[in-house]
Symmetry: C3
Subunit: 227 residues, 3 copies
């Protein structure tokens, strides 16, 4: 099974460890044995003008996943919305009302589906590829989340080399490590079966540390400063 | 404390990683220090004709636990149903209605208790052993689940040696390893304190791999083929 | 960020592994990198006359946290009550009613706030330090929980040296180790990023083992006897 997925993650944090805005949407191609990505692409947001209460993340994820899928032609796309795997193209208003989710969740999807449902329908008729709202059950979504953390870290390093310092909140229970010519990331949760990722990084002249976010248990902070 | 418990787990998976049917009910005897089983027995189902929406699992578990308990005379039996440890023999209709669980859970227990409650009552009067609906709080239930995974893996290996290939969905966050003369299994969750199990396996001529189930995060797949 | 937090944990267990009463309230000072405590103090309860259904724990925690905070002057106090970080001094009756928690939770806070809210208000006006009801999101609360486990273990050792034997239920998914001149404790959950603690221990003449509590999955038991 060849799966494309996307997720948005990694946040620029303020002095109080609160998120200012999200940084990276990553799309990944995941193949057996489903532990890492064969390929990944990224779209960076501007965390300084990020609407944390809006729905930009999921729009960015659908569009970036479709972009990668057009290139690599997977069997399916996994979307980070936990709706038991229902195809996005089937999420019209009556179907949304029938979902067993909160009223707030339904309101969000009524708004999102206006443009995303026709988009998914057209994508499916062009490519035959379904976009499934599988969310937390998907390993590919989690790998996309790890890659969002990797790209956010890279963004943070480049930002710190210009501005002097950056504090990045990584996605849930993952860590990163600077290695020779690359940035390595892995899940801290052994229950997931050893998920990991790596992206190229050819930058020097910085110091970093990784430690728990004191106000967000199980989320790590990547802190970097120019040497 | 000497505890007998039983659980049903391990699934034959189709090409899309969906469960076709469950494979093994294992009953275990667990003693201090409560990390593994002192003894285990198994009852195999036929995954090809398994009613995943029915209640056969819990019936098989009660009967198999009672069978092992008659032999080893434990202090108590732990059942995989999370009802705060209420004794099964006390689960009559008024008591079920008073439980703080969903209506669907109550409906299920109204049906099950018709034969299981008298069975448990008679078993208690004969042996003095209570069957407690303790579920997720019980370490013995989790060890039984690990053993169900081990026996399902063994079933999968024997099936693959006949049919060429098998794909087994293991119970939640556990892995197995083929070792000298035996099959080793362990929980992937260090929070559980290092639970493990082993069963004899004297079979050759197969290759296997273990990897995350892409559509069921934290569940591993055991895939085996005839060499 | 310098944080003081407190938590009550560690239980004396009976033969059936049920808690008789809680043992230790620990207050800790936590500083970057937020993995352990810089300082800790303890208040022991009497587990033999402990009202497990009452609210003494949270009162002990507020008072002990304030005691340590007066000494070390942290930026903030983290309280183990998960109410999204609302300051304790703001928890008057209308605010409690507006919280999105269960009716039972509201009833508990209506009772507690009678004395704790004025106490927090006065403490804030004297020191400028907020007491935030942040609960499960706080790493400092978790570190306080680990220290409560350490002090409960120490209490258990001293009790066993007098009475012969003690069985202590540790706080959730943590373990302890007796090392040279000290007692070491750590979280068993790698998702938390490697939280640990140590307290001095200069006692000999005992044997111990640590193993899973059979009726409380993910909780370990520390069992100690006089040699
Ligand atoms: Mg997401
Ligand atoms: Mg079960
Ligand atoms: Mg607490």
């Amino acid at each position: 099974m060849r799966i494309v997925s996307a997720d948005t993650g990694g946040a620029l944090l303020d002095d109080g460890y609160n998120p200012i805005g999200l940084i990276a949407t990553a799309a990944v191609l995941v193949e057996k044995p489903y532990k890492t990505a064969k390929m990944s692409i990224v779209k960076y947001a501007d965390p300084f003008s990020y609407d944390l209460s809006g729905r930009q993340a999921i729009r960015d994820e659908v569009l970036l996943a479709m972009k990668l899928a057009k290139k690599v032609k997977p069997d399916v796309i996994h979307l980070d919305s936990t709706l038991r795997g229902i195809p996005l193209r089937q999420l019209d208003d009556p179907t949304i009302d029938a979902l067993r989710i909160s009223d707030r969740g339904k309101a969000i999807w009524h708004e999102l589906s206006k443009d995303l449902q026709p988009l998914a329908k057209r994508f499916w008729s062009e490519t035959g590829i379904e976009i499934l709202a599988i969310g937390k059950e998907s390993v590919a979504v989690r790998i996309a989340e790890i890659y969002a953390g990797l790209y956010s870290t890279k963004w943070g390093i480049e930002y710190a080399l210009k501005e002097g310092f950056a504090r990045i909140g990584l996605p849930r229970y993952m860590k990163v490590e600077v290695r020779e010519g690359m940035l390595w990331g892995e899940s801290l949760d052994p229950k997931e079966g050893g998920l990991y990722g790596e992206i190229p990084l050819d930058v020097e002249g910085f110091e970093y540390q990784i430690y728990p976010n004191p106000i967000a248990r199980t989320f790590m902070v990547f802190e970097v400063k120019k040497e």
